[in-house]
Symmetry: C2
Subunit: 124 residues, 2 copies
Amino acid sequence: MNSPRIILLAHGSSDKRWRTTFEELAAPTLASVDGARVAYMELAEPSMDTVIREGVTEGITEFTIIPLFLAAGRHLRKDVPEMIKELEQSHGASIQLTGPIGESPLLGQAIRDIVRDQLEETTP
Amino acid sequence: MNSPRIILLAHGSSDKRWRTTFEELAAPTLASVDGARVAYMELAEPSMDTVIREGVTEGITEFTIIPLFLAAGRHLRKDVPEMIKELEQSHGASIQLTGPIGESPLLGQAIRDIVRDQLEETTP
């Protein structure tokens, strides 16, 4: 039984520095999860369509999209689910959308650790 | 010597569910860093102005703002630095702005752990 292909979904931006930050954020996941990919909702490639198409060509039919967003706003509540419905129809794939990473307790703990590191740097 | 007061800066939204996610993200930090606060850049209270004013009233003059943003876009490169300059002048405070949490390697590691948890849930 194959695992679903993991897609880390970022918003996307035409700013290369912005994309570089997301590529670095995704790097530990891409290094440890076979086949995992980054995709952008808009303004950058690869799009979700590109990544799903590529997977289907490889014979993958199940995908799990994990949003690299801190919280769910209009994009995750409305736009992305609509895009997924269309992608499922056009590619014959099954696509699951999870909550954004910011809804995981692990992220709040990481923020606490980042703040502690910051305090050690700034406290005389 | 006092540490600077830590302010976790979120974008802000009129959507209560969105703010709740950020309050939960901030909770481990607020529980472990004395005096730490959440502030919103726009669309929600408390604003940066409210939180800085409150700190100055308590005798605090040094603040460190840590953005709860995954990457730096126009807000963090331009809008927030301009707001900080005005806040420093109006409150006589010294305010340091750090990079967004998404630029810390700890965050990419947390994302990897979140994806692993997700895989364990979805893999038969």
